[in-house]
Symmetry: C2
Subunit: 428 residues, 2 copies
């Protein structure tokens, strides 16, 4: 039997950030991270499109993302970890309706001093050799594609190397004396009465009971505090105890297409928007499929976060679907960017969003002695540092977490009972 002060279930980006920040605040604590996979960040973390933006409408999202990205910048510039931050920006394309809806939000953001830049459709057509007007294109009409009326460039946004970020937290955590056990799968959480009677079948319902550790394939782990950070798999552990974490899993697929023609290379390495040397993360108007450039690979990642009727489903090895590219992403992308004509993906991967179905924002709460962190709904990478600090503050019983750059964040805002997250109006 292993004993520890804090057991973190899951070495994804949220589990690692939480473990690191707890250990950092409490150097003497015995903090143990376990993961069923063989290395850090090999679950959904590894399947991320690994883009970030520091422009959100809601105070919650902005604080979480901006402070995290500032910390990543610091880790890269001052701590010497090459996280391959690339400030390529986000280029958000809107049809006239979408733009009309977004206008008050954008004005509001401009008034608050946020930076962004606006482009006309015709301008974008020229800069990117793209199709912005589908008048007369029956096929595009049938597909319901939106014209490109305007484009909004968010400069404080871009890409990060997830693997390097994971390694950063892992090695800093280990340096502080933290422990990690891989290939260790938690099968259930242990519940015991606070005042055990030594009778069979405890706890009885009239006993006050709490989580005191976990059963794993490598034996029992007893912990003063257990933190579930198992991503899309968290409900499998928490449902067993009747704790609802409001997390559902949804498959997300990314298809990688090589820039193997002159026209595609021109698009990939365009300098029209930023000085990052590549196309921004580019979101189509409707449906909001996106292109995530991967200049290191000389490739584009094509993806779309499909909703109805995509199932909620927890799967260990989600597979990308050929038809999703052929009849979906390819058809949409080639309409906007004829340069992609005939392109086949040279690789593809699929992961799971762990979606918080209440409001799509992260959850950090404690119930019956177990802490839960998750539900970042596809933006866990860009918010991971702040979330880890909030978990550490909750662990320490603090009302406010101090985010990087000394911003204060009320811990209970991400909880269940006194949850207080602002509605996000800038949703992809």
């Amino acid at each position: 039997m292993t004993k520890c002060d804090v057991l973190v279930v899951g070495a994804g980006i949220l589990g690692l950030s939480a473990a690191y920040h707890i250990k950092n605040k409490n150097p003497k604590l015995n903090v143990l991270v376990v993961d069923k996979l063989g290395a850090a960040g090999q679950g959904s973390t590894a399947k991320s499109a690994a883009a970030f933006r520091c422009l959100f409408y809601s105070r919650t999202n902005f604080a979480l993302a901006d402070s995290s990205v500032e910390f990543y910048k610091y880790a890269q510039n001052d701590l010497g970890y090459d996280l391959k931050l690339r400030w390529a920006g986000y280029l958000w394309l809107f049809d006239d309706n979408g733009y009309k809806k977004m206008l008050p939000v954008l004005k509001d953001l401009a008034n608050k001093g946020f930076e962004y830049k606006e482009y006309d459709g015709s301008d974008l057509a020229k800069k990117l050799d793209m199709q912005t007007d589908f008048t007369g294109d029956e096929e595009a009409q049938m597909m319901g594609l939106g014209n490109v009326y305007k484009g909004i460039l968010i400069p404080k946004a871009g890409f990060i190397d997830v693997d390097s970020l994971v390694k950063f937290y892992e090695s800093e955590f280990l340096k502080l004396g933290g422990k990690i056990q891989y290939n260790t799968e938690v099968t259930e959480l242990i519940v015991e009465p606070r005042q055990p009677l030594g009778m069979p079948g405890e706890p009885y319902f009239w006993q006050d009971a709490i989580v005191t550790g976990a059963k794993t394939n490598k034996g029992l782990i007893r912990a003063e505090k257990t933190i579930v950070a198992a991503g899309a798999w968290s409900p499998l552990l928490l449902d067993q105890l009747g704790i609802d974490c409001f997390i559902k899993a949804k498959k997300r697929q990314v298809f990688s297409v090589k820039a193997n023609t002159e026209a595609l290379r021109k698009l990939l390495f365009t300098n029209e928007f930023t000085n990052a040397g590549c196309l921004p993360f580019t979101i189509f108007p409707k449906p909001s499929a996106y292109i995530r450039p991967n200049p290191e690979e000389g490739a584009f990642w094509l993806a779309y976060a499909d909703e109805f009727p995509r199932a909620f489903k927890i799967e260990d090895n989600p597979e990308p679907e050929e038809n999703y590219y052929q009849y979906g992403l390819y058809q949409v992308t080639v309409k906007y960017f004829p340069q992609f004509s005939g392109c086949q993906p040279f690789s593809a991967f699929a992961g799971l969003y762990e979606i918080n179905t209440i409001d799509g924002q992260p959850l950090v709460f404690e119930e019956n002695g177990v802490m839960v962190v998750g539900g970042a709904s596809g933006s866990g990478i860009m918010k991971a540092d702040a979330i880890g600090r909030i978990v550490a503050a909750l662990y320490s019983g603090e009302e406010y977490a101090l985010l990087y750059d000394d911003r204060k964040f009320k811990v209970s805002d991400l909880g269940l009972k006194h949850r207080n997250v602002e509605l996000e109006k800038l949703v992809i």
Copy 2:
């Protein structure tokens, strides 16, 4: 292939009430109810403790329960259905802390004109030959049992015969020309594009798609509108489409103990509180286990809605657990009522609460062409009529449902987007 205008999945009390009210409002519609079981109300409905109360703090709960019970009264008195309504009342026992917390709520209710009666612990001890003070009882202390400081009797409350209520809705629905198919299990909902292209693998993500019926073990059913009322099983159908209904299943167990001694018969058939000829539905202070008298059977039903660490689990045949009685219900009950000393259950049953984990109140909403009703969280029987009317109003696109007695209820209040339910402060 079967075709219908409205397909209701589930012939539990909510499905039947919804089907009846839709058919009643729209006599020409072809309304079909299917259920995987062989008769009406054989799932969780049959496993209900079948108690009702018309005293709630929240406007939402009060409107739903009171109007439903008024309708049941009407069905019994004026429509000639013997629903075996028995106005035995609820007797709610409080320890001093619980009472202190409840006092402002009760005062508020009294000011609003609600009727209830207050009893002192000593008075109850005499009337019921019960133990109300555990001072000096180490075992009771260890179990954390609450003393009985006060008892609140809610007179507009009691029991109903669930089977008769189910038969009422079933036969009235059939009389109107509604159809029911039993032994028909829906395995999945069908989703189709609004504008089909006749291509393989539709719908693609750029297509607008809706639910157009269901696949069952008896073949395809096409419906203009599908309503999922499958109780604890609803998430199995809705998760497949990525629709979150926020419903989780929790086992609930009831143990039936015969009143086979003079002392127990005296308790069961007491006339101290109402003229219903039996003990009220009696709730202990802490833990809030309860006694639901069943005078027809000459028995008491003992039960407790246990929370942590009771799992969320969907099971077709939940089993009552011997230990739950022996180490749980029996131990608690016999402390308050020594009359139960040595009593063994002569029968027991278990069902599933379909818990709405957001706020414990019912859900009625439509998403992507599928309507969902459920989440009544253990009070589906007492609210079924109102909920059925609200479903019918949503089906007809009406902003308000007219409940029995002409109360108006805003349909979207039970929805997801503009949900507006008052917090309940009188929770068992």
